[in-house]
């Protein structure tokens, strides 16, 4: 008889036997041994209960996790680990909603053919870059509603074919036109150079 049958199997091996994970060789060794070893039958019986308790507890724990996900959405934000995420989310929301009202929205307008409409945010000051063939020196800029009603006028300083103009908040939603005029010459009307369309949303 080989010594392998006389040696008590390890707890690992007994567990694999109980969980039907033992290899054929291991199965032969373990079964041959415990058939004649009361001590190992006792170990197997205890381990059987242990595994059953473990499985039941793990199953209950798994089942407990499922309802947790279906609890009200807002509730999980008040658990300790989620408070930091909630704080971060609040900061982002604040940055997106409140703070930009004081920061000019950057808008770039390019003159080209087509029906492209630049979208700009409502209620925020605008920092508009006008690109295209612009006059030397300062250019007059006028903003009109889609209905033709003037809303604002000012000047934009030219800098390397790009005029920059700061526009106060446009409070109403809708289509607006931005017109750029060449500086007025003496005895003549100012010349319209460019017209851009924006939509305030």
């Amino acid at each position: 008889m080989t010594d392998a049958y006389l040696d008590h199997p390890s707890e690992d091996a007994l567990e694999r036997y109980l969980l039907h994970m033992a290899t054929e060789t291991e199965l032969e060794t373990i079964e041959t041994h415990f058939l004649a070893c009361e001590a190992c039958v006792t170990r197997l019986e205890a381990l059987t209960e242990e595994v059953a308790v473990m499985k039941t507890a793990l199953t209950n724990l798994q089942a407990k996790k499922v309802p947790a996900t279906s609890s009200p959405f807002w509730r999980k934000w008040f658990t300790i680990p989620n408070l930091s995420f909630a704080g971060a989310a609040a900061a982002v929301i604040l940055a997106v909603t409140a703070a930009p009202n004081f920061i000019p929205a950057q808008v770039t307008l390019s003159a080209h053919r087509g029906a492209d409409v630049v979208l700009v945010p409502q209620g925020r000051p605008l920092a508009i870059d006008l690109k295209g063939e612009l006059p030397d020196g300062s250019a007059a800029v006028e903003i009109l509603k889609g209905t033709g009603e003037p809303v604002w006028s000012g000047t934009a300083a030219d800098h390397n074919d790009e005029a920059r103009v700061s526009v106060p908040r446009l409070k109403e939603k809708g289509i607006y036109f931005i017109r750029v005029y060449a500086p007025a010459q003496a005895g003549s009307d100012r010349q319209l150079l460019q017209e851009f369309q924006i939509e305030v949303q």
Binding site: D7, E11, E28, L35, L58
Partner: protein
């Protein structure tokens, strides 16, 4: 994984015979048996041999049959198995006495196969004659069920105290019955790390469970914290 032999406390020697291999008798916790003498006694129909055979194998055979076939008619099955073993030995089917353990296993396995085959045959042939099929209830009795539930409830709270990683190992191994190789592969663990983590998780589990069970006054079933 290599099964590491675990040494149990030394059991008292059953006899003082010196004719057998001393290595076999020296195994701690394993009954010292003179296999040749035992087989000779059985062949000769001596009661001493029959008693020793029964004492040696009855619990193991009972456990094996119960695990494979369920608890119904267990005594009869154990008895039948012993009769087959004894008759086979008397007929001289066991040529090497020191292989008695393996011989008993072979007989028990054949018995299990025969019972299953018989059950299948009976069900196939006698379905029309029976009003219904009797299915043995393998569940524990209500008291055992209640105890198990109570222990499991305590264990659940012990499990909650484990780290996510340790718990994941236990879930994969015990609940999903994933092999060690699969767990190691998917969790990027070496075999040693797996054994260590499982052992640690079980130890912690046992430790917490022991405390909780002690505080609840229920007898602990999970006090063994050694590596699995």
């Amino acid at each position: 994984m290599v099964a590491t032999p675990q040494k149990l406390p030394q059991a008292p020697a059953a006899d003082a015979d010196t004719s057998q291999d001393s290595a076999e008798k020296a195994k701690p916790g394993f009954p010292a048996v003179d296999w040749a003498l035992l087989v000779e006694q059985i062949k000769a129909g001596e009661n001493a041999g029959m008693e020793q055979l029964y004492k040696l194998f009855s619990r193991g055979i009972r456990y094996y049959l119960c695990r494979q076939l369920g608890p119904q008619e267990l005594d009869d099955k154990v008895h039948d198995t012993f009769l087959i073993v004894v008759n086979a030995i008397r007929k001289g089917d066991l040529r090497e006495p020191e292989r008695l353990m393996g011989f008993v296993r072979t007989v028990v396995r054949r018995q299990v196969a025969a019972y299953i085959e018989q059950a299948v045959h009976t069900r196939r042939e006698q379905t029309d004659l029976e009003t219904g099929i009797t299915v043995a209830d393998r569940k524990q009795n209500p008291e055992q069920e209640a105890i198990l539930r109570q222990k499991a409830e305590l264990m659940k709270s012990a499990l909650e105290a484990l780290s996510e990683r340790d718990r994941d190992i236990l879930v994969r191994f015990y609940l999903q019955e994933q092999s060690q190789e699969q767990i190691c592969r998917e969790m990027s663990l070496t075999e040693t790390q797996f054994r260590l983590l499982k052992s640690r998780a079980k130890a912690k589990f046992g430790e917490i469970g022991k405390k909780k069970l002690a505080s609840s006054g229920i007898f602990s079933v999970f006090v063994r914290a050694q590596a699995g």
